[in-house]
Symmetry: C2
Subunit: 295 residues, 2 copies
């Protein structure tokens, strides 16, 4: 008989999240802790309490470029701690259950498709807007097993150096890290007069609008290539919907083909911070079904 | 019994191409003529001689954004003659056979997958490099039914106005039209000294390298998002492989994740100018098979 629970792990950013998830995508229990030091030890420690005989497997959603053939992380500009580490094998050996790995944003897209806002769409692209910018593509109701490194599309050919090695990446202009670095630069270059004297909101607003405008370029690029039914936006920066996202929508409307823009819905994710753990657990169930079919 | 021939029509650029194609993708006969005036009349005139009782249907590969629901062309920046015209219905009424429409670059990608260089890959992206720049995406051995308007990815956020309405599009920097406009600008701004006095090759070379560099940005963007096994390059500009394409490869290597770049092959198309007609005919056969399955 197939097992009815899976553990979803989200190693997507500053926090490690672990959840015990049912076959229906319901979270039974969850924990989170800031990522620090050895990610393997941390993952094992947080996962341990959830492992029992009802567990079908563990799904890991990890920030970075996934080496699917070898179940490893090639490179993770925003979470170098996971690079070159045998995460899957170590966890498999520890708990003796099947372990799967996927990019964190891909896992979140899978989660939104499974039981989130994506249920109603066959084709959508999810953007994770946090420290970095990630993406996941659902096409024909399935997660495309591609890199989907949307944050590393060049939008300013002669632009700023990105920590991925490229320059002019979307992530360098529209992520939380980009915002922070812009604010610091502005302060350093004497914009404190505005910040202190007048109103800090003006600087913050201006920065958010600029980041949003750049996000809109990235969204337009994805609309023109993937012509999705929806763009689903997740991550902390969606909290600034009225400024940052509204500006992105405005810019995307100017830059994408109007016939494509008119049919695309630009909407927030439904699962929020839980999308990653739910999606990672969902990937376990999906893989187990595929295994049974192929056996 | 299923019919063994299809007509492929390529309305992708300056020439209209029509070919009679077998179930194995072999061209039995083909014609081409420059596009001028009424495209429906021209298509009917060139197609007429090929229609017989062995024809399963007609496939149209048309430059522009395809409205799949209504079998029309939404917009075609490089071939405005096909916009808002009832191409499919007119041809269907005339010949009383099934007629299918697809974007020209998508059709070419389908052709390359079917009997071209794409046979050996499960995942590749085809770029058509001509007057404009188009794209087609093969994922998991299937043509993704998406816009794939790769030419209209913004790579210079504050860049030149593109005839699609956006600014900074790849197509405005790396297409044949972009090259021509750059050469004209250079001549007008006094660069004739170089062209006449020294060596015209220097200007041409410089322009081609610059266009190639921009193409490389577009290729890197696609590599980072779709992580394909191959990038297949088609169209007239591939003739300048040693300068334009080599420069593109160099730039793409700098801008894409090295783990993805190392596994991608950047190669010329095998079918050349025939990819569009072969692919359009192939789409007819595929649709007929799907119809039989669903009946």
């Amino acid at each position: 008989m197939s097992k009815r629970l899976a553990i979803g792990v989200d190693l997507g950013g500053t926090n490690l999240r672990v959840a015990l998830v049912t076959k229906d995508g319901e979270i039974i229990r969850k924990v989170k802790e800031p990522v620090s030091g050895g990610v393997i030890d941390l993952t094992i420690r947080l996962t341990k309490g959830f492992v029992n005989e009802e567990i079908a497997g563990i799904g890991l959603g990890v920030a970075g470029l996934i080496d699917r053939e070898n179940s490893k992380v090639f490179i993770s500009p925003n979470l170098p701690a996971v690079e070159g580490v045998s995460l899957v094998n170590s966890i498999k050996e520890k708990f003796r259950v099947p372990v799967f790995i996927e990019n964190d944003a891909n896992a979140a897209a899978f989660g939104e498709k499974w039981i989130g806002i994506g249920k109603e769409f066959s084709n959508f692209v999810l953007f994770t807007l946090g420290t970095g910018i990630g993406g996941g593509i659902i096409h024909d109701k399935k997660l495309l097993k591609v890199a989907a490194e949307i944050g590393h599309i060049t939008i300013h050919a002669d632009g700023k150096k990105c920590h991925c090695g490229n320059s002019g990446c979307l992530e360098s202009y529209a992520s939380a890290r980009a915002l922070l670095s812009n604010v610091i630069s502005a302060l350093e270059s004497g914009r404190e007069s505005i910040l202190k004297g007048l109103d800090g909101d003006i600087l913050a607003r201006e920065m958010l609008k600029d980041a949003g405008k750049n996000l809109g370029i990235g969204i337009a690029n994805i609309i023109n290539v993937m012509s999705p039914e929806a763009i689903v936006l997740a991550g902390g920066l969606t909290g600034a919907w009225d400024i940052y996202i509204q500006e992105a929508i405005r810019e995307a409307s100017k830059r994408s083909f109007k016939e494509l823009f008119n049919k695309v819905k630009i909407i927030p994710s439904l699962l929020g911070d839980d999308a990653g753990v739910i999606g990672s657990a969902g990937i376990v169930f999906e893989n187990m079904i595929n295994r049974r079919i192929s056996e």
